[in-house]
Symmetry: C2
Subunit: 369 residues, 2 copies
């Protein structure tokens, strides 16, 4: 058995976990269905009360004319960019080099839509106003991912967003929000979803990140934009006869957790503080701006794993089920934390004891080197 | 209120319906989830016991090396054709002019994959061996839809399928089965799924037609083929973090109904006989070869609707909730029947009385003309 599996196994036996809302099992869907009348009619190829009402609710929440429910953000975002490219007659869009579209979608944007990407900023920081002002190539659309997940969940200053939005409008560049974690950043910006979304022409939001639904996404924008998005949804094979399993769970957990994002954010700041208090451990960003951050250890993953296994066995607290080599170097490693409901369940004294153990182990290990 | 809505409304109030398995409501999913332990882990981006075991089960059932679960047949089939086109270096496929890909997918195959279609046969009949032998253009793949749904569910002779398959193999043309209604045709051919599928290089099957699941599809073929299909599934935005709502319902209703297809077929033959016994009414095909057929009335829909409304109100039997003008002419109309569990619930005397009423009304109306 590999060390990775030992960590996963030890994690699976812990009573408490730092990250997440709950286990991703069938009960998640059962709980969302339980309060609903079985006689409720399924949506039918994008029509029907169940889907239309939820779409209207989300459009209002995001301050947009219209919204369309999609099975996935991958589908929703490629389609958004395709629409803007077709409208502009330019097959180019700009985004961050670590955008989901660039590294997690098997080049779908290029392979299915023949859209080229212009990469702004670099892999260590988020896109700022100067990147946009300095862009030489003509693009149909600029996509901003807020927060920039792959670098720990980082945000540009709100003033930058406003300036980027104003610049794009002046230049005729559409601005699209990859808001997979849209709710999660509102407490930091101290804005409503509608206020933030007003800076963007189109917006995608996910229902299985902080909200913890089963799957699914919303794409919102003008009536004309969402109408065309439905045509592309059918072309992609996303216009299912029934999307209700995702819709009912999206709605259920939205109601349950949308108002908890401030708490998750505060918890993330607290937890990052515990990590940063440990020797040879730091978080990125140092002070979280959402419910998420990355934990970096200045040791290779093979050396950190036994430490985390021991802590989980002695304290019952699971830090993570995986570690990845850092992008920069194999001699350090990291993992991602997204705070949800589970963090609040951990007894504070056990939590402090766990971090004391981590600090001790990292110190002892460093001295032993 | 339009007449169409009156028919829909009257249909909604009937105690019995000719078509279908049950209402498409949330209870369909609840029933599939109820027997399952809530602790069962979700599938995760195409991996995990829940999805892998079902894929293996379906691969074995279809007699193929491997199978992949997709959210929709639209996605699965475009991807199958894309793979065969890429492999052959030919961006052309052949299928029937009323194929789902040609008329129900907003040109996804062309818009997303730049694949051109060569249309075989004509809109009144199914593809036969001569169509394939006479094909002048070079194609990567031939898609056969069995049964050909848009013309009432028609099948070519099995000998034709064997000859087409042999011809395609000799010519290096891949043969793909649009088996949205694959189970539904096995009783007529008196073949197992694996026997039929052995004629094809790739096979798609749906879980919400005769089986009556919530949604979802299987794409099966060689290990190499399905491996590439997973890459395209991600590109299309179909590699959801959780597909289990569709998988558990597909499996549940497959177990419940796969063995009932012979009964549905026999019921369809009986029911078509009742229709064909009525004046100015005929079914296509006249003798069904699956659980489905189309009912054609030699009158415009505006004249048939009041008749069906009256019958439903007087007998409690719903014939249909819609009528469409015939493809050939507005002076006649038709609708589709797919037999499922509901047909067997109808008391035979009430059923005969309903058809007596239909015959009488159609005769009286014709005389009055």
């Amino acid at each position: 058995m590999s060390e990775k599996n030992l960590l996963l196994e030890a994690f699976g036996q812990t009573a408490y976990q730092l990250s997440g809302n709950r286990k991703r099992n069938l009960q998640v869907l059962k709980d969302a269905l339980d309060p609903l009348d079985g006689n409720l009619a399924s949506d039918q190829y994008g029509t029907g009360k169940l889907i239309e009402e939820f779409q209207q609710k989300m459009a209002a929440f995001l301050g947009k004319e219209s919204a369309v429910f999609f099975p996935s953000g991958t589908m929703a975002q490629q389609i958004a960019l395709r629409i803007w490219c077709d409208e502009a007659g330019i097959k180019k869009v700009a985004y961050h080099p670590l955008s989901h579209l660039e590294i997690h979608e098997e080049n779908g944007l290029k392979e299915l839509h023949q859209i080229e990407s212009v990469l702004l900023a670099d892999t260590n920081r988020t896109i700022v106003l100067d990147d946009v002002l300095g862009m030489k190539e003509q693009v149909a659309c600029l996509l901003l991912e807020l927060p920039q997940r792959e670098i720990g969940g980082v945000l540009p200053p709100y003033e930058d967003l406003e300036a980027i939005s104003a610049h794009c409008r002046k230049q005729g560049i559409k601005l699209h929000l990859d808001g997979a974690r849209l709710l999660e950043i509102l407490p930091y910006y101290q804005k409503t979803a509608a206020e933030l979304c007003s800076l963007f022409d189109s917006v995608y939001m996910s229902f299985y990140k902080g909200i913890g639904g089963v799957a699914g996404a919303i794409l919102a924008g003008s009536e004309a934009f969402t109408k065309v998005s439905k045509v592309w949804k059918r072309r992609h094979g996303g216009d299912l006869i029934s999307l209700y399993p995702y819709i009912v769970s999206a709605d259920y957990y939205f109601e349950q957790r949308a108002h908890k994002m401030e708490q998750y954010y505060t918890d993330a700041v607290e937890l990052a503080g515990y990590f940063n208090g440990c020797h040879a451990v730091e978080t990125k960003p140092q002070v979280p701006v959402s419910n998420m951050f990355h934990v970096h250890f200045a040791w290779p993953k093979e050396q950190v794993e036994p430490v985390l296994i021991q802590i989980s066995q002695q304290t019952g607290i699971g830090f993570t089920h995986y570690l990845r080599p850092a992008r920069e170097s194999d001699s350090s490693c990291y993992y991602e934390i997204s705070i949800g409901d589970l963090y609040a369940n951990i007894p504070q004294d056990q939590l402090r004891a766990a971090f004391q153990m981590l600090d001790n182990a990292m110190r002892a290990g460093s001295e032993g080197k």
